[in-house]
């Protein structure tokens, strides 16, 4: 069976790592961080998030704050527009549509339209938040933070020399509270007026008891919920009170393992699996997030336009297994005659559907029709599967 290898370099920890360890969580290395894989049972954590609420420590996510250099500012809204205008040429979404409090999911693209990272850009509400944030926040994958910083350093100065950026992971933590009972949990920890909660893909400062947070109505589980930015010194009491007050409502702390099965059910892509620098958002089925007709030209636009008109070499599809074998990344996808079609990128046993599911890329100009019977070669054996609608769980993505 498998063996674990020891880590060579010291891992980064979050302000909660010790508490996770003390709570008996199984910790693993993820993108250079020591993170909880699971606190109890992966399936229980997954289902708690679907049925009640799940609490995640995602402080490893790259938190980048972008602003206008001192001495160049001309007021909050103008500064925010300056930063957004500089970023607008690097992403597929139209950042001119953002306004204070609004966020958007998008991609940093290279000239070939390949994905440097999938990110969320937040046009922050007016004011200074958590002593560190105003103007624009960019959240990227932990595994891509260096690549994102390199790309910004290469691209931004030539676009807008007055924009500066720094990562704020040394002062701020990020929690995710997800699931149908998240509002009740927030009320239980001291949110007085649920009317202050931001709408989907908006962010707003909130007071939870005596703790100040910046709440964003975003997440990566397929459930409604919030992500909470909080100062390092406040994150342990906040985590503890959320666990204590949330427990009677069915809340569980959730680790990376269930985070992965939750995002897979929601058919959300994972960088390194469904996304990389050689794959485009169109191939990944994320065409909705690319506005080819937006006013500002952007890096990768020509390549994506060519792909849209000329056709794509591959397509991301969703598969449901008709047997219990679980597809794993790089398992071959074949047609019924054994001809190779492509490869699995993510697979898991879906606790919500009680069957194995997978995503993968199919080579060729046309996607497969829903319901098409295929096979996934799991550990040398072709196992039957069929093409299903995206996402596996929840509404349209």
């Amino acid at each position: 069976m498998c063996s674990m290898t020891a880590e060579q370099t010291p891992l980064k920890t979050t302000p909660l790592t010790q508490a996770h360890e003390a709570a008996g969580a199984k910790l693993v290395e993820f993108a250079g961080w020591q993170m909880p894989l699971q606190f109890s049972k992966v399936k229980l954590e997954h289902l708690a998030t679907r049925q009640a609420a799940g609490l995640f420590d995602i402080s490893h996510m790259g938190l980048l704050h972008l602003s206008v250099k001192a001495g160049h500012g001309t007021g909050f809204e103008a500064n925010q527009q300056t930063v957004l205008a500089a970023l607008d040429g690097l992403v597929g979404q139209n950042l001119q549509k953002l306004h204070p409090g609004k966020a958007v999911y998008t991609h940093l693209l290279n000239a070939q339209g390949g994905i440097i990272d999938d990110i969320i850009i937040y046009a922050l509400p007016d004011g200074t938040h958590l002593g560190a944030l105003h103007e624009v926040l960019l959240i990227c994958n932990a595994s891509r933070r260096e690549a994102v910083l390199d790309w910004l350093a290469q691209q931004l100065p030539q676009r807008q020399a007055t924009v500066q950026w720094r990562h704020v992971n040394d002062t701020l933590s990020l929690l995710a509270l997800q699931g149908p009972r998240f509002t009740e949990v927030l009320t239980a920890v001291g949110l007085h007026d649920t009317g202050r909660l931001p709408k989907r893909f908006y962010c707003a400062p909130l007071q939870l008891g005596d703790i100040e947070v910046l709440a964003t109505r975003t997440g990566y589980t397929g459930e409604d919920g919030v992500e909470l930015l909080v100062r390092h010194q406040d994150v342990l009491p906040l985590w503890q009170t959320l666990i204590e007050q949330g427990a009677p409502l069915g809340l569980l702390p959730v680790g990376l393992a269930a985070r992965d099965s939750l995002r897979t059910e929601a058919a959300y892509p994972l960088y390194g699996a469904e996304l990389n620098e050689n794959l485009t958002p169109l191939e990944a089925g994320l065409g909705w997030s690319v506005k080819l007709d937006k006013p500002e030209p952007f890096v990768g636009q020509a390549a994506l336009q060519a792909q849209k008109t000329g056709g794509m070499a591959r397509h991301l599809i969703c598969l449901e297994m008709t047997v219990k074998a679980i597809p794993r990344p790089h398992d071959a996808i074949e047609d019924e005659t054994g001809r190779s079609l492509g490869e699995v990128t993510s697979g898991c046993f879906s606790p919500s559907l009680d069957k194995p599911i997978a995503m993968g890329y199919i080579n060729g100009p046309a996607p497969l029709t829903l319901g098409t019977a295929v096979a996934v070669v799991c550990r040398g054996k072709a196992q039957p599967a069929r093409v299903v609608q995206r996402p596996f769980y929840g509404g349209p993505s």
């Binding site: 069976m1 199984k26 074998a325």
Partner: protein, 137 residues
């Protein structure tokens, strides 16, 4: 040295180096087969166990099934040659029993042992603990 009982290993249990165990009852010549607690811990939460049919025969070292956890899949190997007399169908609904109680409710196979002498090739509980402790270093 660590005692096998401290690890919840029933007396008389023998192990393969691939972490399958066999608990042989000399009177009935029937044995239970499963995987060790250490192996279950290494695999993480188990979500599926594929087991053979009753009546199938296997030689020592043959693959008799597959175990899938949230993070990996692994083949299961026969500790000795034998014929399947029962499989633990409860694992189809509750595979997590392998994590919770691998030596009791989480058993996988009941077999009749064809060559009892093969049991001598296997590690006993204390030998197995020493083996996994070495592997962990």
């Amino acid at each position: 040295m660590a005692k096998a009982e401290d690890y919840g290993i029933p007396e008389g249990t023998k192990f393969l180096d691939t972490h399958e165990y066999i608990l042989f009852d000399e009177d009935s010549e029937v044995a239970l087969v499963g995987i060790s607690h250490y192996a279950a811990e290494q695999l993480g939460d188990i979500v599926y166990v594929e087991l053979p049919d009753v009546g199938e025969q296997f030689e020592q070292g043959d693959t008799f099934g597959t175990i899938e956890s949230v993070k990996a899949a692994s083949d299961l190997y026969m500790p000795v040659s034998g014929t399947i007399t029962a499989v633990n169908h409860i694992l189809e609904e509750e595979p997590e029993l392998v994590n919770d109680s691998c030596y009791t409710d989480g058993w996988m196979l009941e077999i009749t042992v064809n060559k009892a002498k093969q049991l001598d090739d296997l590690m006993d509980g204390e030998g197995y603990i020493e083996y996994v402790e070495k592997a962990a270093v």
